[in-house]
């Protein structure tokens, strides 16, 4: 694959490294020489000096033959401009934007850039996944198949503990789930699975059911727990 990354900051650099390790052709567009030198020092001659929202630069980069285009700068309006050019002018089949302000997610989607990685939300959910007080943690969005991957923790005050899955709202809201319980290997959940306090469920949920599931399991457990 030919992968073009706009922005050679932390995200752009590590992403370029992963693609390069995987044997893909990578180009990083970055105006700052310091960032380019860091990338070239490790990965070789794979950078282009310029701005990813300028047409001359995108022409030079050969964006029209790119398979993947990622805009990973720290400025959302620059990422939007670069992605719109890549998608609408150069017809790149897969265009992804890094989102710095979570509030821009809907705006990007309305303006045609559906695939976004919300940096603040990812960090937040990652932190929450490691703190037992959060019974509902959003792990991942699979937009193309309309699914969300959500970790549900079974707590003492939830409507889930000491019940079979069929007796809980999970049976209606969750398409499929895997049970993670300390001391046992992970197992696929069915209607007869009995849930216990401390269980964690990795759930596949359709996007329109996500809010309801959050209400059912509660976002955060109170201090008495």
């Amino acid at each position: 694959m030919y992968v073009i990354i706009v922005g050679g900051g932390e995200v752009g650099y590590y992403l370029a490294r992963e693609f390069a390790d995987g044997g893909h052709e990578v180009l990083v567009i970055e105006p700052e020489s310091k960032q380019r030198e860091r990338i070239e020092g490790e990965l070789g001659d794979i950078t282009l000096c310029g701005e990813g929202c300028r047409i001359q630069c995108l022409d030079e980069a050969g964006v029209s033959r790119a398979d993947v285009f990622v805009a990973a700068t720290d400025i959302d309006e620059d990422n939007l401009a670069a992605c719109q050019l890549a998608k609408l002018k150069y017809k790149v089949p897969r265009v992804v934007a890094k989102l710095n302000n979570p509030r821009n997610r809907n705006i990007f989607s309305k303006l045609g850039i559906e695939h976004t990685a919300d940096v603040a939300a990812l960090v937040l959910e990652n932190l929450k996944a490691r703190i037992p007080a959060f019974s509902f943690v959003h792990l991942l969005s699979l937009e193309d198949v309309d699914l969300e991957v959500i970790q549900v923790s079974v707590t003492g005050d939830s409507r889930l503990s000491d019940r079979m899955v069929a007796e809980t709202p999970l049976s209606l809201l969750v398409q499929s789930a895997c049970l993670v319980r300390a001391g046992s290997p992970p197992q696929v959940v069915d209607d007869t699975t009995r849930l216990a306090v401390g269980d964690r469920l990795i759930c596949m949920v359709s996007q329109d059911k996500t809010d309801e599931l959050r209400t059912v399991v509660g976002g955060v457990v109170g201090p008495q727990d």
Partner: protein
């Protein structure tokens, strides 16, 4: 007419003053309060400090009831993003944005935005004078 102008540089400030003098309701959104010094002392419209690429701020600036939105910051990408939010999220009827880069002016026109490159306007003006 109810007009929201994004940017508080010289062009934005002159435009705001002209529209205000003609009796239009004008709101200027600028990211730096110091920029409002460019407004003429006679300016009687509203000024709001904030980022006009932020949906919440545009709501506060009254974009729901605006007849026109004009993006005139010095940053093409900010202008393009704010103009598209005004057009597609708030449904403002008349939306214009300044895009310095002539190539991107063309691109945004293909997206249905009323983009104006001052570079092209001035180049054409001078060329026209030469040919007079």
């Amino acid at each position: 007419m109810n007009v929201v102008i994004m940017g508080s540089g010289r062009v934005a400030s002159e435009l705001a003053t002209l529209l205000d003098e003609e009796g239009h309701k004008v709101t200027v959104v600028g990211i730096q309060p110091a920029g409002f010094d460019n407004l003429r002392p006679s300016f009687g419209g509203r000024t709001i400090v904030g980022d006009a690429t932020d949906e919440g701020l545009l709501q506060k600036a009254g974009l729901r009831s605006a007849d026109a939105f004009i993006a005139l910051t010095r940053d093409d990408n900010r202008n393009a993003m704010a103009a598209q939010i005004a057009k597609h999220v708030f449904g403002v009827r008349k939306v214009m944005c300044r895009i310095y880069d002539p190539l991107r002016e063309e691109f945004y026109k293909t997206l249905g935005l009323e983009a104006i490159s001052p570079i092209m306007v001035f180049a054409r003006l001078v060329k026209g004078r030469l040919e007079e």
